[in-house]
């Protein structure tokens, strides 16, 4: 059984994002007309209002912008302490995740981390959750 996690916000576009994760593919929408990436998934390009898009594969690397450590538990699935990070992906979008295979004390502003996968499930089914860890040498 996959790891239970707090429920995802689901809509027809989020469904497609999460469907790719079942194949461990990390894809974000890219506007076919102006090239802007968007996240979270949605129907329209916020830059040019085009509804033509592709699911572009991300390189899976980003730089750390900020982080916070929950010292009070909010979700039974994530007892405190739990640390969340925000990365700036190489392609431009910012992405929230949590760090794996590293100590929180080793987080640094601007450090490059790379994509890992961990399993997850909620009432919408099983999926894989993109998380980030040190770049393997």
């Amino acid at each position: 059984m996959a790891t239970p996690r707090p429920i995802r916000s689901m809509d027809p576009y989020a469904e497609q994002f999460w469907a790719y994760t079942q194949k461990k593919e990390f894809r974000l929408q890219k506007c076919c007309d102006c090239g802007k990436f968007r996240w979270p998934p949605g129907p329209t390009c916020d830059k040019c209002l085009s509804d033509e898009f592709e699911w572009a594969a991300m390189g899976g690397q980003g730089k750390v912008l900020s982080w916070t450590t929950f010292r009070r538990g909010y979700f039974p699935e994530y007892p405190a302490p739990h640390t969340v990070i925000v990365l700036e992906l190489d392609e431009g979008p910012l992405f929230v995740a949590y760090p794996v295979d590293m100590e929180v004390a080793d987080l640094r502003e601007g450090m490059t981390l790379s994509l890992r996968w961990t399993d997850g499930q909620d009432k919408y089914g099983e999926y894989n959750l993109p998380v980030f860890g040190p770049v393997s040498s």
Binding site: R5, R8, S9, F75, V84, E109
Partner: protein
Amino acid sequence: MAVSFDRERLGPLKDTVAVVGVGETDYGADYRGAGGKAMAKGEVRYDSYTLASRALKRALDDAGLKKDEIDGLCTGPTLSSERACELWGMNPRWSGSGDAAQCIIEAAMAINCGLCTTVALVYGNAQRSMDTAYGGSRVTGGGITSYFYYAPWGLTSQGALYALLFQRHKLLYGTTDEQLGAIAVAFRKHACMNPNAVMQKPITIEDYMKAPYVAEPLRLFDYCLINDGGVAIILRRADMAKDCRQTPVMVSGFGWSEENVDATQLRPRLKDFYHTAHREVAAQVYPMAGVGPKDIDVFATYDSFSVHLLASLEGFGFCKEGEGGPFVQNGRIEIGGELPCNTSGGMLSESYMQSWNHQPELVRQLRGGLGQRQVQGAEVAQYVHDVAGKCKSIIYTKGG
């Protein structure tokens, strides 16, 4: 789109509308139950309409107006305009809704258009009685907004989003926890001079540092209260304000700008600290009122979390970007200092009325006579609404 000041249209609206009445509920007394202990969350004492009605009655009494003289109504969270109008027996010629600053701007426009002359702006929130959740499992699964979209990764609550903002500020500028702590300590000091404030016990910087983290690097005292209350404000056409009981306080400037692109990604929050919106609001509110940051005698910012103050002081030009930390230290933001901020104790220590309580406080500071809490010689007051990129500001001045 870059915002600039429309001198021809916005300029003439300066001082055309006045605040003639304010009313608030008994925040401190309502917070404490039997034996002076805080009421438990979910222990129902009031509903929002009880609180809003009480505040409205007090604001009308303050103004010396009868309810039938109100011809416009703005309702804030958590009220329904329809129910409020029925409850208060009102048939307004105009109505609006929104946050406090939004309602003030909308009401000023409606009055200037001739749609109404005297508007009651009313807010009520029984959030402690109702045990309103601002994070965790009870606020997941809906549409798209940054404060629950990332629940699958364990990110939740407005507090954590402001913790990310402060952590970014620390990483870029070397801002320290002690510097941030000066804000909570100052606001608590102000609350202790305000008999209506929920919190009445002073804290020191040592108390601040010893308090537990909630979402690190934010600690307990960086978070606002969760309490029940209501607020009402009466705005009236300036030429009719002289008939009222109190010296009018003029609405001398306002501005509005939003920064929403990639908001769920947290881009404006973490890459800009919302400063683009701050600068655009500053470019309207200051020239409209004919003042600048150096002229502000009393300042208040939305303070669901202490760190709002750093962002708004930097964005409105009270100090340079990145210098908010040193700026707030050494008593500068305290009553008696260079720029007294959130003089009621704010939402950290007076009452979490989602900024509605800041408006009566600024009005009273300009009326004068607040005793030890009075900012001496206060003539110009500014409110900054810096909430997740929905930025507005109001400048009030002492009326004649």
